[in-house]
Amino acid sequence: MQKTYYDPADLKKFGKISEWNEELGAKFFDYYGKVFEEGALTEREKSLIALAVSHTIQCPYCIDAYTGDGLQRGITKEEMMEALHVAAAIRGGASLVHGVQMMNKVNKLDQ
């Protein structure tokens, strides 16, 4: 059994996913490439969104990939950290907003 569940070297093997299903793999990577092309949003903006989402889904491969991608694009560490706080705020807010449900229940049940 391998020592850790995540191996940084596996990120480089991502493309090999297609080997076991070429059609779906190709469709996925075509889609993936298209998503990150400049459109209404710049490639730089998309990179920051990807970095924030990477942290939300806690994907170590994605965090490595989009930290490097951000540095290449000249994104500063201040911009990266602000993007992360947006992700953290939404994630924290998502827990906290359920507090309304808790309050509703308490108000209904409590005498």
Partner: protein, 349 residues
């Protein structure tokens, strides 16, 4: 201020040591193909074509000690081109059809014969006359304050390094206070007409990544640089050249010290682009060192890898002997073929 590898008596001040590192380890074990193997796979064989760009390094002395410098330049470097060698360069410039003359250093302006050389070279009527200025030299001493006017008078094309539009990233790579001085110098250049949209006074910036990563798309970076410098400081320039850091000298020292060397070499090899090989600068460039010796590029000069030709010195310059020579290569050459490629004029593919 950071000291040069030479001053620190670092192992890497010895170019043989650098070449050993680049040839052993992951390349010797076969984990990665050597550059020679890689270009053979894609059917390439690098040979010099007709000379188009003559790049002259007029000395390694510099007022800055940038952390990524491939020259290992700094105030403690004393290698300076003599007037006699400059005259030998001028004799060659007059007799070649090269369209570009490219002066570099160090800070070329610190050579005591710099102004004489620019005045003489500008009379030859070369199409594109580049001086690679680090910007801060213009503020380093009163005697340099008129450089923008001097450049303008001789229609020099100014190419300057600027790793980022923020102070933090720039000062980290180029030294404390460099960002603010660079901004001031760019304003001085703009004030005499350099970099303005319709101006013939060319001002281009060079972007080197400030760490162990490759540059992103040159056009996208240029857009970001232009917006940030104009919005924040009212500065304009023409083009941005994105240049990959080659794993030699102080950048190699950083890669090894930060344990990024192997990953960086993997990144360069993975990003190998056969389309970039066809246009690498070494095939149409000749690099002259401060003491007049000839190299295929400035990087080979810093690794002390001379041209593979009987004509080894500018005083022996012979077009027939130099054209068609085999380019001298090692693993650092992957830096020029990664992604969109890299040269002193930016991307090549």
């Amino acid at each position: 201020m950071l000291k040069s590898l030479h001053k620190r008596k670092s192992d890497l001040a010895n170019t043989k040591r650098q070449l050993e590192i680049l040839s052993n380890g992951i390349f010797k074990s076969g984990d990665l193909p050597t550059f020679k193997e890689k270009i053979s796979e894609s059917g390439h064989n690098l040979k010099a074509k007709k000379l188009e760009i003559l790049q002259i390094n007029v000395g390694y002395m510099c007022n800055q000690t940038c952390s990524h410098c491939h020259v290992d330049a700094g105030p403690d470097r004393k290698e300076i081109m003599t007037k006699e060698t400059m005259q030998q360069c001028l004799d060659v410039i007059k007799n070649t059809e090269a369209h570009t003359l490219d002066l570099t250093g160090g800070a070329p302006e610190m050579n005591p014969h710099f102004r004489w050389f620019v005045e003489e070279a500008s009379k030859v009527g070369i199409k594109d006359f580049i001086v690679r200025s680090n910007l801060t030299i213009m503020l380093a001493n009163k005697k340099y304050h008129d450089l923008p006017e001097f450049f303008k008078k001789h229609n020099v094309h100014v190419v300057s390094s600027m790793p980022h539009w923020t102070q933090g990233k720039t000062d980290k790579q180029r030294g404390d206070g460099v960002f603010n001085k660079s901004i001031e110098a760019l304003k001085m250049l703009n004030a005499v007409g350099y970099g303005m949209p319709d101006s013939n006074l060319r001002l281009d910036l060079v972007y080197n990544p400030s760490g162990a990563f490759l540059p992103a798309n040159q056009a996208a970076m240029e857009k970001d640089f232009k917006k940030a410098l104009l919005d924040e400081f009212g500065i304009q320039f023409h083009n941005l050249f994105a240049i990959t850091n080659l794993p030699i000298s102080r950048f190699l020292d950083f890669l090894i010290a930060s344990e990024n060397y192997e990953d960086y070499m993997y990144s360069l090899v993975e990003a190998y682009n056969p389309a970039a090989v066809a246009n690498v600068m070494c095939t149409n460039t000749l690099s002259v060192s401060w003491d007049g010796y000839l190299y295929d590029c400035d990087f080979n000069q810093m690794l002390e890898l001379p041209v593979n030709s009987k004509a080894k010195h500018i005083s022996d310059y012979n077009e027939a002997l130099l054209e068609g020579r085999d380019i001298v290569i090692s693993q650092h050459c992957y830096g020029c073929t990664a992604g969109a490629g890299s040269s002193c004029q930016g991307t090549v593919a």
